[in-house]
Amino acid sequence: MAVNFNEMLKGDERRVDSRTIYVGHRPCSASEPFIPPKFCDNRIVSSKYTVWNFLPKNLFEQFRRIANFYFLIIFLVQVIVDTPTSPVTSGLPLCFVITVTAIKQGYEDWLRHKADNEVNKYPVTVLENGLRLRKESEKIKVGDVLEVEEEETFPCDLILLRSSRDDDTCFVTTASLDGESNHKTHYTVPDIEKDLESLSATLECEQPQPDLYKSLGPENLLLKGATLKNTEKVCGVAIYTGMETKMALNYQGKSQKRSAVEKSINAFLLVYLCILLSKALVCTTLKYLWQSKPGQDEPWYNEKTQKVRDTNLYLKMFTDFLSFMVLFNFIIPVSMYVTVEMQKFLGSFFITWDKDFFDPEIKEGALVNTSDLNEELGQVEYVFTDKTGTLTQNNMEFIECCIDGFQYKHRDVNSEVDGFCVTDGPVNSLKEKAGREREELFLRALCLCHTVQVKESPEGFIASSPDEVALVKGAMRYGFTFLGLESKAMKILNRSHEIEVYDLLHVLNFDPVRRRMSVIVKCKSGDIVLFCKGADSSIFPRVRQEEVEPIRVHVERNAKEGYRTLCVAYKLLGTEEYARVDAALREARLALQGREEKLMAVYNEVETGMSLIGATAVEDRLQEEAAETMQALQGAGIKIWVLTGDKMETAKSTCFACRLFQMTTELLELTVRTLDEGGRKREERLHELLLEYHKKAVQDAPSVENSISGNWSVTSHEYGFIIDGATLSMVLNSTDSNSSHYRTLFLQICQNCTAVLCCRMAPLQKAQIVKLVKNSKGSPITLSIGDGANDVSMILEAHVGIGIKGKEGRQAVRNSDYAIPKLKHLKKLLLAHGHLYYVRIAHLVQYFFYKNLCFILPQFLYQFFCGHSQQPLYDAAYLTMYNICFTSMPILAYSLLEQHISIQALLSNAPLYREIRKNAMLRWRPFLYWTLLGVFHGLVFFFGVRCLFRNSALQDDGQVYGNWSYGTIVFTVLVFTVTLKLALDTRHWTWINHFVIWGSLAFYVLFSFFWGGIIWPFLRQQRMYFVFATMLSSLSAWLVIIVLIVLSLLPEILLAVFRKPFTPFTQQRNPVESNVGAVPSPLSSTRPLLMRTFTDESNTVI
């Protein structure tokens, strides 16, 4: 006997978008020829390479990077054209870079391979022709019938056919998919043959789709990656395998975020490329000008080969140009990319290692998902924060409720557990009570209308939303205990300690658009009741209006006190009505296309005409140190926007609690309420209000520049801005021509407010706001922080996305760039880590360009003294090793360890963060400074030695030095100067810095001895033989090296000294401050925020 699932899909015409699966590979009917359909196998491939294609593929990918490609071109030019330096000089560094990157990528891929193999080789049980076969997971084909035991994860997406439980259900957790640890119930396909061996059926289902977050599939679909719980074993047929499973489809790389520093690097690179090109051009031109003078082109002592003479003049010019390019190409250093990558990669470990980020509750520390954005943490100008779970703990506590307009407040927690009693529990006076029946109806509603599950050991409740647990616990306190859900029957222990059983017929799940959820249950009496709970705005329009008013008062009062409110309503369903609803729900659930929309429509239809019973108030406490963190961030000049889906009143009170709004703050409100006030059309009112606020906050306020310099606190006023979702969409999407005008007005107002609150936001609107600010003038760096799935969109949109390892699953964490356990960690992450990373990498980048400029400039100048013949000044070994060995380690150590200001001081002195705002260290001015410094050093090195070589007899035996001695002296001065320059910049000398800086110099000296001490058999020219040693035997050489180093560093020291007088104060005072410590930073808490920033700032900036 066969069950044909096709029946389930009747009426669905769009067959193209569905696939047919033969259960157990058995054809459905003998008449149809059985053609096994082709589906992909169950191998998960997250790795990029195989052993065979690793080399070509990886090389191809690497050379797609512009920089690598450029170096490859240089290398090829060196191989093909007769160039001054051997191909080794650029080939070796390039090779090194490519190898290091390849090793890193290879290792990462190896890890992926390992992870893949673990999944792919996992043994599974396949039922085939009545036999139970053990197979490797990767051998599963679509249509296989699999058996999965308890605690195993599903190897592919399955349709549940049989469960060992009597009620044809099974429980799964999807913790590894979305982090929700609650048990979800799934059902077997109804009306199915128990004997799976003889089952012959076909199954039609949607083509694979990645909508993991929309819903976790229909209730008989078991997803790969989920774990079977509480069920001995289940059988199911594989429908999506391998890369077509929902998990694999959801596993996609996020779009890569690029940091502002990287953009600066690219801009600087362009400048240097121009310098390089112009140098080569100048030299080529001068060469041919010089050669045009008689006797210069081909003096008798230097005749050309016949081949060279015959070459076309323009071709010669071109090859000369290329040769100069090659000679000067070191100005764009290959190794900078490696160093920057290494700095980012290694540097990010300090975040993971930081024990201040460790949260003993969840036993986890910070998580770094990308190391590309470390420095961006030091550049944040706007923080967009979620409220629930981020500013607040998402640790809900039932505070009070109101039933039919009567307030019940459970004051005395110490009284007996079921102390909720009409006579002594409520706060309100005794006369005003709702009827006992209403009370019990309300409490039953609380007990039934949820998706909470009972956990046996340790006792407790599990739910995807902590509100629900709080409500169930609240009901328990008042005498109604939810005992659990067993085979679709919900059990409740009521006040008189009797067990009531309700059949759970349907759950109308919560979703953020509807903002409510419902259950349909059948009482013992046979009545079918729909219980619904949800946000006031979504419930009030759906209940009888006369019931609303008394409850609205309570809801608004509660919201003002900062509680989260939910309204509870119910509706009796007649038998026919239920039958209709039931049919509609079933049909919608089986729909292959547009299931979501159809379900939504049914839900909306059912949840009408209800009657309101009451409302609940749940408190969500502030996160630890939320206020301090917010204050510190504001002190650091960061604007904070709260984006929440919550009600305005609740959100506003949270903002006050976090001290985002102060009592003195003037609130500018742009919400549906203020729009309705004037009694005119909303659009007109919006226009009017926008203009009014704009005048207040923007035109009358002092300019932003003033505010930075610190004198704003005295004169001007603080503004806070509040807008809600509906108004925001009016502002952003208004149809008339004003739309862009409104947008600018809105942005300008917001930018002049100290804090902005956006409430009633849909997830997409959150992202919209972030995008709006991100693309505004000056493109400020934005940071989003959130903990829930509804924050994912804004986390992905912002420059830096931060996930909080909160209670609402792990989706935010998985999509974030950095994840921290608590909001309070944000302070250290930005003020200390971000600041340091920015300073480190900015210095790294500038230093790299500088050191290569003063490296190559003497080589360029030398062309004027050697007939523009592309004669290298330095030996090839020096050219190659300069960036790889002699000067790379000190800057790497610096860029990992430098703390120009101690972490303590950074944390206690938030305004320091402002000093590096707007990419301060990588703008054109500092770049120009470093460039000029490089030019100055290059000139000093070259002409200093040039003056010395007016008489090349430098020893007391009268012997003369040659060109390689010249180059070696310049190079020695160069290596010492750039290393000592870094030493001068180093504020924080750990033993590693000492080791690396002095070690590099020692290595240079040792290497030079070694390189010049041996006749190298593989070299055709022994240029450097004993050059270095002979140089050291000359006193004049020593003296010139010393004087040139001192001369080069003199301006630096002077500058440092003249800049310094002020910094000792901040640096010396702060440790003292923090040591006194017992009075926790006296400046921060007692004094008003603005005063504090002003006075503290005056210490540092002046």
Binding site: N302, D354, F949, N963
Partner: protein
């Protein structure tokens, strides 16, 4: 509590390194260090500068240009490139004792020994005495790699080819008689050059090693006959050759020719008249170069060069001045704040 903390596997290590708390020295360039430091450095530099300047001033230098572009120059006739084996004589006088040891340099200007293609046109394999390179010289030696008869040139390349084969003879004129000043050709090249870097093939007699090779085109004699007077100074370890092979850094250069250390002249050249006999065989006018000879004595710092002394003096003075300026700045701005 502590135990509990240790049990957690995710807990980050609490080490100074991971917590970025490594003990660190935080040097401050404060005025207290910088001002005395500058004064010290400045004074030291001034001291060194003075010493250098005095030393340099004490060095005697006599430069004689003999290019012969001027009509009245004794070498005017020889400067005609068509002249072969021309000898000219330069007369000069020394007023006071030219203290010894006196170093005798020849100088060339506008001669680009540092030209790249010129510079690479040599074969260090040959010069190391490796016979395998005698047959097949380094290809960079073109066009001085093989002669017209396809015989390999040893030593090959431009540098060796156009060696300035000079012969100078210096006479003191005593009572109208020419008294030859002995010139010492030893120790004019780097020790490592003639002992290690350059070697003759281990073939005796040396000339056999050069069988079936050609001498460089411009050479009058093959390599093994460079110094007829001293058989040990032949081949690739001929010191004149070595001096020439060390390329000059700049187009105006001088190279050591001889030292005057022997006989009556060990203490220097006494005052008097001298004549210098020059075998003029190196045309430079085609590339507007100049030729000269230089007599100089040296000090511990080498030849005469006032640059170093001046540089030290200037920078030393700068340091002292800056420290004074800093002192004033500090006196003005810092001290009131401390009250």
């Amino acid at each position: 509590m502590v135990k509990e903390e240790n049990e957690s596997p995710n807990r980050p290590d609490n080490t100074a390194f991971t917590q970025q708390r490594l003990p660190a020295w935080q040097p401050m360039l404060s005025a207290g260090i910088v001002i005395p430091g500058f004064v010290l450095i400045g004074l030291a530099f001034i001291g060194i500068g003075v010493a250098l300047l005095i030393t340099s001033r004490n060095i005697q230098v006599l430069e004689l240009d003999y290019t012969g572009t001027e009509q009245n120059s004794p070498c005017f006739q020889c400067s005609d490139p068509d002249q072969q084996d021309c000898v000219c004589t330069l007369q000069f006088s020394i007023n006071s004792l030219f203290e010894g040891p006196v170093f005798f340099y020849y100088g060339l200007s506008n001669y680009f020994q540092n030209y790249r293609r010129y510079g690479v046109s040599r074969d260090d394999g040959q010069l190391y005495g490796d016979l395998s390179y005698f047959k097949e010289p380094y290809d960079q030696c073109e066009p001085y790699r093989f002669d017209r008869n396809k015989r390999p040139i040893v030593p090959c390349g431009s540098v060796a080819n156009c060696i300035a084969v000079y012969t100078f003879r210096l006479f003191q004129i005593v009572n109208g008689q020419q008294k030859e000043v002995p010139l010492d050709g030893k120790g004019i090249a780097w020790w490592t050059d003639y002992n290690i870097k350059f070697r003759n093939p281990t073939v005796t007699p040396l000339r056999n090693a050069f069988n079936s090779t050609a001498k460089p085109l411009f050479w009058p004699r093959p390599a093994y006959e460079l110094d007829p007077s001293d058989p040990a100074n032949n081949g690739f370890i001929n010191q004149d050759f070595l001096v020439w092979m060390r390329r000059a850094a700049l187009p105006d250069f001088r190279k050591l020719y001889r030292r005057i250390t022997e006989g009556d002249y060990a203490n220097g050249l006494p005052a008097g008249n001298y004549s210098l006999e020059i075998a003029y065989n190196y045309p430079v006018l085609s590339f507007s170069g100049r030729k000269m000879v230089v007599f100089s004595n040296v000090s511990w710092m080498g030849g005469k060069n006032e640059f170093l002394g001046i540089a030290y003096l200037v920078i030393g003075t700068l340091c002292v001045v800056m420290s004074v300026v800093m002192l004033i700045v500090y006196a003005k701005f810092k001290f009131p704040e401390e009250d």
